[in-house]
Symmetry: C2
Subunit: 226 residues, 2 copies
């Protein structure tokens, strides 16, 4: 579903240069729940942003399906992101002037699609936001904002979801409900999910874990158990 | 060091009213490492913001030492916060135009104090930010931003530190280093720390855990072990 080939991302230059990604070739399969783990600063968010076409590489390529994102026009890339990719940001990136519900359905509105109401109700119910939908982000707790961000990615059932630490602000019970829901979406609906997490318990819901350190892949594990 | 007495905080009114805090009386001792746990949306951030004088109560009182914050003028409250309270925000709240180092020393600059350089070096070294100090927040990873926020509260050695989920974006090793450092500051320097966390492992570093649900205290545990 998504892969990178010799992906390198360098910030700065000379002796202050940071190799956020250093020749990373990794592949995430369709219909699989993949996790990415690694120390803070190891390049996880950078990898996800580049694979989702939100940031460009210094060298190398990233593919969604057979589309090489580095070869697409700005317009084609925006269309692909809007129609095919869901992203849960580490800092949520909610629109402060929109309600929770408006934030959740925004990608679909932008893509000109209307929500599958039954699915939307199921997502909102599972993350526990049914009584907070009319509130704006600054009237929500940190974990509630995170759940809005998660719902926004799930609601449109995109081809692939990139989730950057989707349960970091949640108590273990709420986190488990969301992870179970994600694993079910992968299992029964064929949803493809790539999730960054620091939590080995969260990673244990995935089919495979890829390990990153200093911008490089250092290993992987199939069927992780925590 | 800090306590609340019948603290109530209500948002909204009528049938959309949310009792974020419902008659909460809790006390945190000087020189102790206290943790607050509870489900997402249970009132943890609200309690911390009210006890730090960042938000006002609907009814009840909060005290730092013998000072009733509900009785202070805006000016006296600002002075108390600046001189005596350190706060690690759940969303970090870093100044985008300042470097990591400038963000870390900002409270001291505002208070007209100069940093204890040896202590500052120790804090920065422990959180692992020595090579990122000249970078601004948008050039830092999520976990690095969180570490800047943590360092900012620790560097001025305030009378009391309120830390709202200080390790949520960190891998377990980096998190453990910060928690160990905090526990040492409490043990050997008499630092008072009140920490909200969703992570039972983080809570196990504390001397005592208070449990919150639906805006009420539901229990506590001394010497928590995970
Ligand atoms: N300005 C506001 N208007 C209405 N409701 C609010 C407002 N601010 C907070 N709330 C509500 O108050 C409740 C408590 O919020 P709080 O941020 O204290 O929770 P929390 O325990 O810190 O949760 P989390 O673990 O998700 O960070 C939540 O249900 C939240 O939606
Ligand atoms: N604009 C930038 N300029 C300079 N360095 C940057 C920039 N953006 C990111 N970096 C650096 O690139 C490295 C990788 O960052 P990235 O956000 O991918 O890490 P991460 O693995 O997601 O970390 P975390 O777990 O803390 O979220 C970090 O050292 C970070 O400081
Ligand atoms: Mg990150
Ligand atoms: Mg909170």
């Amino acid at each position: 579903a998504a892969r990178s080939l010799n992906a390198t991302k360098i910030y700065g230059s000379g002796h202050t240069e940071v190799r956020a990604l250093d020749d990373v070739s990794v592949s995430f399969e369709t219909g699989q729940f993949s996790a990415i783990m690694g120390p803070s600063g190891s390049g996880k968010s950078t990898l996800m942003h580049c694979m989702a076409g939100l940031d460009d590489l210094t060298s190398g390529s990233v593919f969604i399906g057979d589309e090489d994102l580095t070869k697409l026009s700005e317009r084609a890339l925006t269309l692909l992101r809007r129609k095919q990719i869901g992203f849960v940001f580490q800092a949520f990136n909610l629109i402060p002037t929109l309600t929770a519900l408006e934030n959740i359905t925004l990608p679909m509105s932008l893509a000109g699609d209307s929500p599958d109401q039954a699915w939307l109700d199921q997502v909102v119910g599972t993350v526990g936001l049914s009584d907070r939908l009319s509130h704006r982000p600054n009237e929500l707790s940190g974990g509630q904002q995170q759940r809005v961000a998660v719902s926004r990615a799930l609601a449109s059932r995109p081809r692939i979801i990139f989730a950057d630490e989707p349960t970091g602000n949640l108590d273990s019970r709420t986190g488990a409900e969301i992870l179970t829901f994600m694993a079910d979406a992968v299992r029964s609906l064929g949803q493809t999910i790539v999730m960054v997490t620091h939590d080995p318990v969260a990673a244990s819901y995935a089919d495979r874990v890829v390990f990153l350190a200093d911008g490089k892949v250092t290993g992987e594990m199939l069927d992780p158990t925590s």
